[in-house]
């Protein structure tokens, strides 16, 4: 699973339309390789969130085929989807924190849903909140947190269970550049543990922060491959020492 060349996601001629409107995603054919770090860029309205929704199983495509973790997710019976979702970590563009739960309980939620014992989850959750700089706010309800703080809770919740695939939609949209870089380091650390990461962003400065990341670009719902990385992923070198 950790081998860099294995496919974790494969899209084949995928199209998506909402209701009776035109297609917001068209002819998407690409492969995500296990253990790599992807950025998804594109103008506002290009379809980034729509593509991520397909990835985190919130939407079925109108046409085409999607395989994830080696299985066809379109024909997968509904009852099998929760098990699949547990292998994902998602940072929603609108955070989606549970309103009446504290920051701590929001971050603990994926672990609780997976049956981790209380005494086993307390420390990791506290550590994670410390790491995103919210150790002191672990009892706070989302409504009392700033936008950036909510975003950090959402990120902590997405990564806490060490998912196999992390999908993050504008995860640094509401934080200052310094925190943005710090959060990116979190994703990188997770990536190094074997998680495949997909980060949607239109912040081009971010792209430069992760040297061996691959870039996907959406233009009006169509994928372009500016670096050719999707078709010909470069061999992954050992992480270079950072200056």
């Amino acid at each position: 699973m950790m081998a860099g060349s294995e496919d974790i996601v494969r899209f084949d001629n995928v199209g998506l339309r909402y209701g009776i409107g035109g297609e917001v995603l068209s002819d998407l054919t690409f492969t995500l390789h296990a253990g790599r770090f992807y950025f998804l860029t594109g103008a506002s309205g290009a379809g980034k969130t729509s593509l991520l929704k397909l990835l985190y199983l919130a939407q079925r495509p109108s046409r085409g085929a999607i395989r994830m973790f080696g299985g066809d997710v379109i024909t997968l019976p509904r009852a099998r989807l929760p098990a699949l979702r547990r292998r994902l970590g998602v940072v929603f563009q609108d955070f989606r924190l549970v309103r009446h739960l504290s920051a701590f309980d929001n971050v603990a939620l994926p672990l609780r849903l997976s049956g981790v014992r209380e005494d086993e989850l307390r420390q990791p959750v506290a550590d994670m909140l410390d790491w995103v700089g919210l150790g002191a706010r672990s009892d706070a309800r989302p409504a009392t947190l700033s936008g950036g703080e909510q975003q950090r809770v959402a990120i902590a919740r997405a990564v806490i269970a060490r998912p196999e695939l992390l999908v993050a939609d504008e995860p640094t949209g509401n934080v200052d550049p310094e925190m943005a870089v710090k959060l990116l380091r979190l994703f990188e650390a997770l990536n190094r543990l074997g998680t495949t990461v997909v980060v949607a962003t239109h912040d081009v400065h971010l792209l430069r922060q992760v040297p061996d990341s691959l870039i996907m670009r959406l233009d009006n719902g169509r994928m372009s491959d500016p670096t050719g990385a999707l078709r010909y992923p470069p061999r992954r070198e050992p992480a270079p020492a950072r200056a």
Binding site: Y56, R85, H100, L109, S114, R192
Partner: protein
């Protein structure tokens, strides 16, 4: 970079049931609350009353029928007192000689007069009103047609003015009514159960919609339908159990009070209509069944709505 230490140990991605406190943490404010416990309480009280009433009626009918089986009444309708009494005496003698007759009791005149006094007043005491002579006859077995016709032909010989009727016949319409009442009670119980289920359905639907956002989040984080339904079942269990027990206790208290009231009448009807231990167990089943119906309804409601999510 010290980041790796902050991730939880790679976890077995099982699916734990979200029971107890854990479920409360996920959706703490999901007490269906509002009127539901009260609606269930009222339904449970009414159901207990209907069930208790139906059982009491059944007991009454059953014991009365058993008491009357083999009971016969002979009337001698004859205006002339002398002829009447003569025929009555001969009829009583003839009946006593018949095989299968357990007892023969001519009803004394003054007892008869007392029986009809409420309707006829003082006149009952005089001979101005020609009361028939009555003889109570008890057969050893049930009064079937063959025996009746044998007794009738025997009577016709010695007392032409005699009329013989099985006592069960008089009460035929009463039994009919009791049967109808029992059907009514069963229908009532069915309707009350349906109404409770409808109340739970509405409450579960509202609670689901009020918590839709949270449910969607839990759903997207990999919570399965059983876990989410479990959260609702927990609140339904608490709410409906509270209501059902309260209602059932109230209903049972009313049953006991009614029983004592009837007991004060000393009419014998009550004795035969009182509830046995087994009957009370049946009545105690009412709140249990109600909670069960509530749980099933809530689960079904939530599952159907979850089924509409991808």
């Amino acid at each position: 970079m010290r980041a790796p230490s902050v991730f939880a140990r790679a976890i077995g991605r099982g699916q734990a049931g979200l029971a107890g406190a854990r479920a409360a943490r996920v959706l703490p404010a999901t007490r269906l609350g509002g009127p539901m416990p009260w609606v269930i309480a009222i339904m449970a009280a009414l159901t207990v009353l209907a069930a208790g009433g139906a059982l009491a009626l059944a007991n009454f009918a059953e014991r009365t029928r058993a008491g009357l089986e083999g009971g016969l009444t002979v009337q001698i309708v004859e205006a002339d007192p002398a002829a009447r009494d003569g025929q009555a005496a001969r009829a009583a003698q003839a009946l006593a000689r018949q095989p299968g007759v357990a007892s023969v009791r001519p009803v004394p005149r003054d007892e008869l007069a007392r029986l009809v006094e409420p309707w006829l007043g003082e006149a009952a005491q005089s001979d101005a009103v020609a009361l028939p002579a009555l003889i109570d006859v008890a057969l050893a077995g049930p009064a079937d047609e063959a025996r009746l016709s044998r007794l009738r032909s025997e009577l016709a010989r010695v007392a032409p003015a005699a009329r013989l009727d099985p006592q069960a016949d008089w009460l035929g319409p009463v039994f009919e009514t009791i049967r109808a009442l029992r059907w009514l009670a069963l229908t009532l119980i069915a309707m009350l159960t349906a109404a409770s289920a409808a109340a739970v359905w509405l409450a579960a639907r509202n609670a689901f919609d009020a918590n839709r956002e949270t449910i969607e989040i839990v759903h997207h984080l990999g919570g399965n339908d059983t876990q989410i339904a479990g959260i609702f079942q927990r609140s339904v269990l608490i709410d409906s159990a509270l209501g059902a027990v309260l209602g059932a206790v109230l209903g049972a208290a009313v049953l006991v009070l009614l029983g004592e009231r009837f007991g004060a009448l000393q009419s014998g009807v009550v004795e035969s209509g009182s509830l046995s231990t087994l009957d009370w167990l049946g009545v105690a089943l009412v709140p249990v069944v109600m909670v069960g119906v509530a749980l099933l309804t809530a689960r079904r409601t939530v599952m159907v709505r979850l089924g509409r999510m991808l």
